[in-house]
């Protein structure tokens, strides 16, 4: 019992100290937090404009148009943040998963 526990702890410690694991954890954290900051930053920037400079969003797209800048701007917050999720999922499902599989195989 205690033998398996020790080897379990050792295995986890070996993984943790492996350079590939550290690279995996670091690059995943960098990407995930950057994208989170981009989405939330973009959204709250949009909200600040809504609250303090509403007339910017109320400008016609072109002279004579009834569509305003605000319509594509709001749609862009939705579409762009969705595209960023696509980017994250792509990187995680290819590069990060490959790195993680590599690592586990090496330490088998």
């Amino acid at each position: 019992m205690s033998q398996t526990e020790t080897s379990h702890a050792q295995r986890y410690a070996r993984i943790r100290n492996h350079p590939k694991f550290q690279e995996l954890a670091r690059s995943r954290a960098r990407l995930a937090w950057t994208l989170t900051a981009l989405v939330l930053g973009g959204y709250y920037l949009f909200m600040l404009v809504v609250a303090f400079f509403p007339q910017w969003l109320h400008t016609p797209l072109e002279t004579g148009s009834q569509l305003t800048v605000g319509i594509p701007a709001a749609a862009a917050v939705i579409v762009l943040s969705w595209l960023l999720t696509g980017w994250y999922v792509r990187v995680a499902n290819t590069r990060f998963d490959a790195l993680s599989a590599d690592l586990l195989e090496e330490l088998q």
Binding site: A9, Y12, A13, I15, R16, F21, L24, A25, R28, L31, A32, W33, L35, T36, V39, L40, Y43, F46, M47, V50, A51, P54, Q55, L57, H58, S65, Q66, L67, T68, G70, I71, A74, A75, V77, I78, V79, S81, W82, L84, T85, G86, Y88, V89, A92, N93, D97, S100, L103, L104
Partner: protein, 553 residues
């Protein structure tokens, strides 16, 4: 006070229609045969799926998480289904109909939580959890106390949301189908019990998928039919909407609804982070085989939700012209008066105007199906908190057999069903707006802070999680009681002590502060062990090593 009304309805748009339906109780309509026939087809199809699912459901893993055998795409549809309630279609389109661009701004707030869940939570949920989000919170903390607390948080959110859904369902069905309020509530409650008790997560997932497809198809068709009236030109649509609406050009830019930035900030904070604390949404991440599929599923879900929200915006603007100028949809034909059936029926009127009675019947059936699917998901999440967290882990210390756990789950589901039907009937004429504030307030201020800290912060201890969670819970509860929705609307006081609709701006930071302070000051031996255990948890979170794997069917 007047200023707050649209905010309340915006909030409610996410949850069901109870909001606007409750203060002015819906009048019963003549029986709608198209709608009932189409709903009947849906019920027969879903019951057949439940029968099939019941034969697949052999273990607790099948019951709680469909054995982890749902693909990323299927789960994406199911997540989208869990999130898009009938009121997403009805509430948000009505908000744009009434307020124009402000409705669009609120819709964006309902959306941005999803990318954040993708980046920070999806894979960790899958790698660390098994059946409930309490699995993750208690991964390295005290099993008994933390799990009890997390289960309590789940159940509070589930019960509040269930009641809101039931009241909304009763009002909506009374209006659309011409059934009695209490009959409608019973039909929803009984069907929900059948799906969950016999079919577990497999049936619930498939009901959710079918409903999501129907809702997406119905909404898109409606938008297509409506846009055809404007030659598929957004420019024409905008021009006609501006000339049709009472406030004219103002519908194309931000208006008065956001006049109070603190209220708007509190609302958006609650919505963005509340999603990440809703147990029935979190549970969906355990139904896929691995982290890769979990990420894919939230990518698909985000796409479907975003697309649907944009469709709903088109519906709202189109309705300004098509519904807003047609006297048949107004009480006594008065274009400046109230809409027939209340302010939330805009999308339904639009369906009738552009697609006739048959399409209205179809959309009504979709709305009913939507409510059913959402309550089934909620009931399953609540039942798993009772049986997996409270019974199997806390009470029996993991010694309960699968058979015993399954039996408790089914009794728990029946219990939740009785509570939902009973409270649904009891609250018929109540204003349940405060329950929505409470649901998202508690999700964002209790479940979310504890969960995200358990995933990311090494320093978290049992004491910190408990006290921080309680601080969030109690402050959210207190602020909701002091808010206009309870203090004025329910208790009848003249002025609210807490003037905002949503507690999250204050209660969520409070929860985080208490979690950090108490954890830092915790010098017990247990706390040291808990901090040490983070390293192994971190390995599993990153690699999925030792995570529950899918069972094959």
């Amino acid at each position: 006070m007047k200023r707050l009304a649209p905010l309340v309805s915006a909030l409610l748009a996410l949850a069901p229609l109870a909001a606007n339906a409750a203060p002015m109780v819906a009048e019963k309509q003549p029986i709608n045969l198209h709608a009932i026939a189409m709903f009947f087809v849906f019920v027969v199809a879903t019951l057949m799926i439940t029968w099939w699912a019941a034969r697949q459901t052999k273990s607790t893993s099948d019951f709680y998480t469909a054995g982890g055998g749902i693909s990323g795409f299927q789960n994406g549809l199911a997540i989208a289904g869990d999130y898009m309630s009938a009121a997403t279609l009805l509430g948000l389109s009505s908000l744009v109909f009434a307020k124009g661009y402000d409705g669009f701004v609120y819709t964006v707030a309902f959306f941005v939580g999803w990318p954040v869940i993708t980046f920070l939570m999806a894979e960790r949920l899958r790698n660390l959890g098994k059946y409930t989000f309490a699995d993750i919170v208690s991964y390295r903390l005290d099993q008994t106390r933390i799990r009890t607390f997390a289960a309590f948080g789940s159940l509070t959110v589930v019960c509040c949301y269930l009641v809101v859904q039931m009241v909304g369902a009763g009002q909506l069905i009374k209006l659309l189908f011409g059934l009695d309020y209490s009959t409608a509530v019973m039909v929803v409650g009984v069907l929900m019990l059948v799906y969950v008790i016999f079919g577990g997560m497999i049936a619930t997932t498939w009901v959710q998928i079918i409903k999501a497809v129907l809702l997406l198809a119905g909404g898109t068709t409606l938008a297509g039919l409506a846009l055809a009236e404007f030659g598929f030109s957004l420019e024409t649509l905008a021009a006609r909407a501006v000339e049709s609406h009472a406030i004219g050009w103002n519908i194309m830019g931000p208006g008065s609804m956001l006049a109070d930035p603190i209220n708007a900030a509190s609302l958006s904070l609650g919505l963005v982070f509340g999603i990440a604390g809703l147990p029935h949404i979190l549970m969906r991440f355990f139904t896929v085989p691995n982290a890769k599929e979990a990420r894919k599923s939230v990518f698909y879900a985000t796409g479907f939700i975003g697309f649907f929200f944009l469709v709903v915006m088109v519906l709202g603007y189109a309705a300004i012209v098509i519904v807003g100028r047609d006297p048949q949809f107004f009480v006594d034909g008065d274009l400046s008066g109230a809409l027939v059936g209340g302010g939330n029926m805009v999308a339904m009127h639009l369906a009738k105007a552009v697609g006739g009675n048959l399409f209205l019947g179809f959309l009504s059936a979709v709305a009913f199906a939507t409510i059913l699917a959402v309550v089934a998901g909620l009931a399953l999440a609540g039942a798993s908190a009772i049986s997996h967290d409270l019974y199997a882990t806390v009470l029996r210390k993991g010694q309960a057999s699968e058979r015993e756990e399954m039996r408790v789950t089914r009794f728990a589901t029946i219990g939740l069903g009785i509570v939902a039907i009973g409270l649904g009937i009891l609250f018929e004429k109540q204003n349940v707006a405060f329950l929505v504030g409470l649901t998202f307030g508690i999700a964002a201020s209790t479940n979310f802070p504890v969960l995200i800290m358990a995933m990311y912060w090494k320093g978290l201890t049992t004491r910190g999680a408990l006290l921080g969670g309680f601080a969030g819970l109690i402050s959210a509860l207190t602020l909701v009681i002091l808010s206009p929705a309870v203090w004025v609307a329910v208790l009848g006081n003249a002025e609210a002590v807490y003037p905002y609709d949503h507690p999250a701006l204050f209660s969520m930071p409070l929860a985080f502060i208490v979690i950090v302070l108490v954890s830092k000051l915790d010098n017990s031996a247990r706390a040291a062990r808990e901090r040490d255990a983070f390293d192994d948890q971190f390995v599993r979170a990153q690699t999925g090593l030792g995570a529950a794997t899918a069972s094959s069917h």
